[in-house]
């Protein structure tokens, strides 16, 4: 058994007291491509954000290679949802990719030649080398996504968290992303991807986390991505959890 790259212990996350993720417990071994799958509002993005310290945990903990997130920042690459940033921001494609190197640089130090090389290499890697000097406003959705991926590559991380990289991209970009994910796996990285398209789960990933406010299942795709588990994930509203969450928010017992 290989090393555990990512581990969540008994984690609960709440927004305004209302729990959105309940008692999540999971372990992901190193070197896997992991799909995070579940219906809208299942807490997929929240799982990533909690893992990255972007939202507070109500309880439990997250470990990356056995240590807390704060100690392992340098091992982590993050690709937020494309719409989360302002694409009218006055920067070039290369500037954005260069941002990937900021974490390693730390406070006050400025990116130099080495960082520029990393940025250019990452851009070429995603087939966007020719766009380096473009203003980001001019990019299509697929190109924006590639730029974000290049930025993540420039982070030179061990474990990557990608939030819906396939949302609204063209077919060519989608296959380019898949290829890139596979390369990352080959070089021993672990990649967690929030994913929407059930059809492609078994093609793209070798591990899957099925999520619907609670953890339904987590494991290798062949064993875990079963009809029965999918039924549990998508079938029927989880009314009881929903109602319990609402009750907690109102601090009143269920009537």
């Amino acid at each position: 058994m290989s090393q555990t790259a990512f581990e969540v212990h008994d984690m609960t996350v709440a927004y305004h007291r209302r729990p959105v993720l309940w008692d999540i417990d999971l372990e992901i071994p190193e070197g896997k491509l992991v799909g995070i799958v579940g219906p809208n509002g299942a807490g997929k993005t929240t799982l990533i954000k909690a893992a990255l310290g972007l939202v507070q945990l109500a309880s439990g903990k997250v470990e990356i290679y056995g240590k807390s997130y704060e100690e392992q920042r340098h091992l982590i690459g993050y690709v937020p949802q494309r719409e989360s940033v302002d694409w009218d921001f006055p920067v070039t494609v290369r500037d954005v990719v260069l941002m990937g190197t900021y974490g390693r640089l730390g406070w006050f130090r400025r990116p130099g030649k080495a960082e520029l090389e990393i940025a250019d290499r990452s851009l070429q890697h995603v087939g966007m080398g020719a766009f380096a000097k473009r203003q980001i406003r001019q990019l299509s959705g697929g190109q924006q996504q590639r730029v974000f991926l290049a930025r993540a590559l420039a982070q030179e991380a061990q474990i990557y968290f990608l939030d819906e990289p396939f949302a609204g991209v063209d077919a060519a970009t989608e296959s380019a992303i898949v290829e890139l994910l596979e390369e990352l796996r080959t070089s021993g990285k672990t990649v967690l991807v929030v994913h929407h398209d059930l059809q492609t789960v078994s093609d793209y990933f070798d591990y899957v986390i099925l999520l619907n406010m609670r953890l339904i299942a987590c494991g290798p795709v062949e064993e875990t991505f079963t009809n029965e588990n999918l039924q549990k994930t998508y079938g029927g509203r989880l009314t009881i959890l929903d109602e319990a969450a609402e009750a907690i928010r109102r601090s009143k017992p269920l009537q």
Binding site: L54, I76, D86, F89, P90, Y102, L105
Partner: protein, 411 residues
Amino acid sequence: MLTGITVNAACALVGCFLILRKMSMMGDALSHAVLPGLVVAFVLTGSRSMVPMFVGAVIAGLLTTFMTQTLHQYLRVPSDASMGIVFTAMFAVGVVLVKQFTEGLHFDIGCVYEGALEYVPFGERVAGLPRQLFTSLVVLLLNFAVLIMLWKELKLSAFDPALATTMGFSATKMHYLLMVLVSVTTVASFEAVGSILVVAMLIVPASTAHLLSDRLGWMVVLSVLIGAVAAVLGFWWATYWDTSISGMMTVAAGCLYAIAVLVSPRYGLISSVLRNIRMSLLVLRDDVLAMLYRIEELKSSKKFSIAETAAAVGGGWLASVSIFQLQRSGNIEQASGSLQLTDQGREAARRLVRSHRLWETYLVEQLGMPLDHVHEPAHRVEHYIDEQIQEQLAAELETSDQDPHGRQIPH
């Protein structure tokens, strides 16, 4: 005038980040909310010297930022409302304090609004410079130094706060830092340009620069220049008409913004009008070509003069221009009073008609649209379909040689 330039430049530096973080109104909020801090500092120390004023302002600024954030995050007050609540409350406290403690002392409330650039040369002096000039220089240098030192951190946290936070550059910390800078800048500018005009100086030059530039570095440099130009223009105009200098500086900044709106290469009115005209001409040229092609195809003996052709594609001077352009580019020619396609024009027209008919077929075959509804959409789309999409369409269609009206799709 020098004071005006330094104040405007200092404001522009932090203003750039305010507007990029979409927090322009936070400048407004802070410029009012620092007032109680100033009064308390004044009352406690009995002096209007720089250090206590800055300390007071920074504390008031941080408090405002903290309260706004708390209201927004924990009580779920919308961020604009929480800003409105906090800054008006703080300002009111400030006004009350002024009335209570500083009666008879030199603390002119009118001065808070309008500033008193006019009197700068006659005021007290620090290090040989008028006090306001000295303060604003200090703040300009401070802003400049912070920007240089934390350039990449400020840039990243403005563009993608989530990533910044995961990298250990807490976006919240950067937010507070920026707010401290804004507070300090506001205070330094207070006496010179007045609280309301500070807001203009924070936002207008930076927005103008945003319209005109693609790079953050350029945007910052430009905004400083624009702030300075506004200061100089405002000074001249105010002297000429003998009116409020800071008022005129804001008017000047507004004028510069208006000019940028007109000429900006991307969003500018002029360029968008030009773009629209160019697009209309393209559509009209396409329409003329396609119409002549269809006439040829029907083997109709009908001849179209220039005027008739122009009328057929909707008329107007643009239609005449488009026909003229087609003639000049050798796509159509005039023979015995009527227009005809040249070989080159026929080729172009065939591509268009192919796009049109492929699209119609696609709409009927794949999207199941009724036959009498497909001409209009195809007519709109045909101008944008290049060869690559044509091939994709042809490959996806079952019948790619005949359109749903039974007409041949040209190759």
